[in-house]
């Protein structure tokens, strides 16, 4: 088990990362707290010895993604009627400054299989191979979804956001 000091440091260091991954998957900000605790409890009790900070961060992201997926499965099993997507996205981006909100809303509006790859590629700057490893997907699938996600974003944001 990790020490309390290590856990506190990890929360400070990776809190924002976990928050962002939760936003990409959950959309509903009220579900984030449970995921946060689960991720860092796992970090405290089950994390391996890390070779580097990058290794540690990748582990945190992978665990957060898995926790979010597990949460979503149980969410649907409970047959709770989901809030309209547009409402959830607005809740998520409410605290973000206006000039950045459009981009965020466009990313969050994408289907999950695209937005997770867009986030990992453009924000976390992982390669397609690394993304394939994190998501446990075929690397060709990652390339395909990356291309498709990019096209959808261009369509949503217009040519002004063309890189």
């Amino acid at each position: 088990m990790r020490s309390e000091k290590e856990v506190t440091h990890a929360i400070q260091l990776y809190g924002d990362t976990v928050r962002r991954v939760c936003m990409v998957y959950l959309k509903n900000p009220t579900d984030t707290e449970d995921i946060f605790q689960n991720v860092f409890i796992k970090y405290a009790t089950r994390s391996p010895q890390f070779e580097s900070l990058e290794h540690e961060k990748a582990w945190i992201i992978r665990v957060t993604i898995n926790e979010c997926k597990d949460f979503l499965k149980s969410f649907y099993k409970r047959n709770i009627f989901p809030t309209r997507q547009s409402v959830l996205i607005n809740q998520q981006t409410a605290t973000v400054p206006t000039e950045h909100r459009e981009v965020l809303e466009a990313v969050l509006a994408l289907s999950k299989k695209y937005r997770e790859i867009i986030y990992l590629f453009y924000y976390e700057e992982y390669t397609a191979v690394e993304i394939a490893e994190i998501l446990n997907k075929n690397v060709n699938t990652v390339y395909t979804r990356l291309t498709r996600g990019r096209d959808l974003l261009k369509a949503a944001l217009g040519d002004d956001y063309h890189e």
Binding site: R19, F36, V107, Y119, Y123, R150
Partner: protein, 242 residues
């Protein structure tokens, strides 16, 4: 697009309250986990230790009880053998004596056998003219049962003499490493009168001692119910110790 997405997601941060709640909850969980296994481990170890201790105590107690001699049968003729039985009428000890009443190293393979089986085995091998059998037990019922069993042999063996001794004599014989039959005979002869002095008694062979004791006993019983050699209890009375 790259820069725009990065700038947009850079604005997404974890709320301070969220970070603090998470820190508090995780640390509480860690502290609870640290205490719990120790208690479980300790109580599990303790329970296992207690169970093992109980098993050992029970096993040793059972063994001790099983091996405790409760009854004894002393069979004396030219040589002697003393057989001790536990409360389940199983052989727990066998001691052989020579004609002078000294223990020998001769062994008999009758450990853990039942009373009837042992008596059959020993008495069927006895070919002496007279066989003197002395019985004692802590338990009156056990004594009666042994006597009843021996009586059937007496009916078949003409010169078998059965005596009943006491627990006290049985213990005294063990303490002195002496045949119980011999100890019983010595005790009775010493109690009987002056014609038998201690030195004479102690130096006689077991055979001679038993014969002397039997003669003395017959004289005591004359005129009433007697224990007759040659089988057939007259009225079923046994020679009884005081």
């Amino acid at each position: 697009m790259n820069r725009k997405i990065k700038d947009a997601f850079n604005r997404v941060t974890a709320e301070k309250d969220l970070m603090q709640h998470t820190e508090d909850a995780v640390i509480l969980y860690m502290r609870t986990q640290n205490e719990k296994p120790q208690i479980v481990k300790n109580s599990r170890k303790r329970n296992i230790g207690l169970a093992l201790a109980f098993v050992f105590v029970f096993a040793f107690s059972s063994l001790f009880v099983y091996l405790q001699p409760v009854s004894a049968v002393s069979i004396n003729s030219t040589s002697s053998v003393e057989v001790y039985f536990n409360r389940f009428n199983r052989v727990v000890e066998v001691i052989s004596y020579d004609e002078n009443g000294e223990p020998t190293s001769e062994e008999m393979a009758i450990q853990n056998k039942g009373f009837e089986e042992v008596m059959d085995e020993i008495l069927s091998d006895a070919d002496a003219e007279d066989v003197y059998v002395t019985v004692a037990s802590r338990n009156e019922a056990a004594t009666r049962e042994m006597v009843a069993n021996l009586t059937t042999h007496q009916e078949m063996m003409r010169n078998m003499h059965i005596y009943q001794s006491s627990e006290e004599i049985m213990k005294k014989a063990r303490e002195n490493e002496m045949s119980m039959g011999r100890m019983h005979a010595m005790h009775e002869l010493q109690e009987s009168g002056e014609e038998y002095n201690t030195t004479d008694i102690e130096t006689e062979s077991t055979q001679e001692l038993m014969e002397a004791f039997d003669r003395h006993h017959q004289e005591m019983m004359r005129g009433g119910h007697m224990h007759r050699p040659g089988g057939g209890m007259n009225g079923g009375h046994m020679n009884r110790s005081r």
